[in-house]
């Protein structure tokens, strides 16, 4: 079969004034090494194609060659902004596959960490997205709060970014002394900071003009293109796996799934801001209900999964993150496929930026919230 050739991503148009514009892979607004090839008519973007794979490390092949436990630290490197969320999906998938029980306390702590991850990830998104559009101040404020969340990770798991914070069967250690108090201090502090962000952006006229009506995607398109996370919720479909197919203890918690109808960049902004609020609610409930008990269940030394396959997905900050694992009965999986939400959301970029102005491309890419480590795997 005829395959494409180097550089043959888009043909220049027929009309005069058509232009092929190459954006990235060193462009700071592409949040990594994404190369976008745009076909423009004047200022309007007509078509686009993405060139990805600059960060491809063969994670799936690696997973097929490592025992279940040993692949856990590698999952940190998928979505390095929200590493605990990746850990969580992997260990849960392994636990389902190996039929291990997880103690209650571990489940609660996992949810606490997962929601803190959502906060950290959304904070980084907010800062960089706002900076892309031109609000530089917010970047510094967001990083200040994100630093506190990372300090919490460091206090619990010992690392800040690539945390390796969960283990198959439970947790590596119990909460250290004083950690919950620190968390509560953070929970008390954060709402005021969140309102600061709202004050800076939500009603700001420049922000509104740069985001409202840009990158619109309808609900039907969202379903067709398999979008997930804030993208689909920003278009009016309340698809959140924490609610739809609850894992851990999410079915016992009381929280809302924020949605917006417009489906533009501004709607996604509002959805993510509200999600941070809901995460705070979840965190408070978890801290209140946190049971005592062991933090790791019984894990056999030699993990040998039965023959069979499963697909396990969780709601990462970017959307539906899942692992499809096929086990042939050995100590290692025979096939691992990573369902990366960024990869699939990025695919819809032509739908989102068709007809937009060139300057809006940055806003749209920022609102998809891609992490290239996850796109390229």
């Amino acid at each position: 079969m005829e395959t494409g050739t180097v550089g043959a991503f888009l043909e220049p148009g027929e009309k005069e004034g058509d232009f092929i514009l190459n954006m990235g892979p060193q462009h700071p607004a592409t949040h990594g090494v994404l190369r976008v090839i745009l076909r423009t008519e004047g200022e309007n973007v007509v078509d686009c194609d993405s060139d990805i794979g600059y960060l491809h490390r063969g994670q799936e092949k690696t997973a097929e060659n490592l025992p279940y436990v040993e692949f856990t630290p590698y999952t940190d490197r998928l979505d390095y902004i929200a590493a605990p969320a990746m850990n969580l999906t992997w260990v849960e998938a392994c636990e389902r596959l190996l039929q291990l029980e997880v103690p209650e306390r571990a489940k609660y702590i996992r949810v606490i960490i997962a929601e803190l991850t959502r906060l950290a990830s959304h904070l980084l998104w907010l800062g960089t997205h706002a900076m892309d559009i031109g609000a530089l101040t917010l970047f510094l404020y967001c990083f200040r709060e994100r630093e506190m969340v990372l300090d919490l990770f460091e206090g619990f798991g010992g690392a800040r970014l690539t945390t390796h914070i969960f283990r198959v069967g439970g947790l590596p250690n119990d909460l250290p002394k004083g950690w919950l108090e620190d968390l509560e201090a953070f929970l008390d502090l954060f709402p005021s900071r969140l309102s600061d962000y709202h004050k800076l952006l939500t009603k700001n006229r420049i922000w509104l003009r740069r985001t409202k009506g840009i990158g619109v995607v309808t609900a039907d398109e969202c379903v067709d293109w398999g979008l997930s996370g804030p993208l689909i919720r920003g278009s009016g479909i309340a698809l959140d796996l924490r609610r739809k197919q609850p894992y851990e203890i999410y079915d016992r918690l009381d929280f809302d799934i924020p949605t917006q109808e417009e489906g533009d960049v501004y709607a996604r902004y509002l959805v993510r801001m509200e999600e941070m609020n809901q995460s705070l609610r979840i965190l408070r409930q978890c801290v209140d209900q946190l049971p005592s008990g062991p933090f790791i269940g019984k894990v056999p030394k030699r993990l040998k999964a039965p023959k069979g396959e499963l697909y396990h997905a969780t709601e990462s900050p970017r959307g539906e993150f899942g692992f499809y694992i096929y086990s042939d009965g050995g100590t290692q999986p025979a096939r691992v496929k990573i369902r990366a939400p960024s990869f699939i959301n990025l695919q819809a970029l032509p739908v989102l930026i068709r007809g937009a102005l060139l300057a809006d491309v940055v806003a749209v890419i920022g609102s998809i919230d891609i992490v290239l480590g996850e796109v390229d795997r």
Binding site: D151, L152, F156, G157, H164, P172, G178, K199
Partner: protein, 189 residues
């Protein structure tokens, strides 16, 4: 008429400075607060007591390591960065040994960790049956060439001594470490 109304409402919205004032109030509020940053080379932040640094070998009271050469750490390491050699002691050696009370039946001539590969995942620390390994608090090991990045047993034991000292001080309450460093800026500028 409606157009005029629309225009007027737009004009009023444009003239209304409330959004800009709200934003400016935030920035002005933080303008008068203390900085939260740390002036790095002159000031260093404390790590949490769980922080995972370079791998260290914990010494026993004779200064020897606690490793029995079971190789479980070598086996579990996902990136294969540990090199352990074990030599079992023969009967004669066991009898004529210096420290008779030691239970160890093996010598560890080589214990190396390749820092270029190690991703500080602490799987090896958790699996070790004798708690011979530990993550130290050291993160800044500056080397000028690649060969130095392979820590040998002596250097790991040195790191382990520091770690032990740190843990002892922590247990004695001499130092305390908090998870959050800066919920509110603590230091003066």
């Amino acid at each position: 008429m409606s157009k005029l109304k629309e225009f007027l409402s737009k004009a009023v919205a444009m003239a209304d400075p409330s959004d800009l004032v709200a934003g400016a109030s935030v920035t002005i509020k933080y303008f008068f607060s203390h900085p939260v940053t740390v002036m790095y080379p002159f000031e260093k932040r404390e790590f949490s007591s769980c922080a995972k640094g370079v791998l260290a070998l914990i010494p026993d009271k004779y200064g020897d390591d606690l490793c029995i050469g079971c190789m479980q750490c070598v086996k579990i390491c996902p990136v294969d960065c540990l090199t352990v050699e074990m030599r079992k002691l023969s009967k004669e050696e066991l009898l004529g040994r210096k420290f008779e009370e030691k239970k160890k039946k093996a010598l560890i001539p080589t214990f190396e960790v390749d820092l270029q590969r190690c991703m500080l995942c602490s799987l090896c620390v958790e699996i070790c049956p004798t708690d011979a390994l530990e993550m130290s608090q050291t993160v800044t090991l500056i080397m000028t060439n690649r060969e130095d990045q392979v820590l040998d047993r002596m250097r790991m034991l040195e790191l382990g001594k520091d770690t032990q000292r740190y843990r002892n001080r922590l247990a004695a309450g001499e130092i305390e470490c908090e998870a959050i460093q800066c919920p509110e800026p603590k230091h003066k500028d």
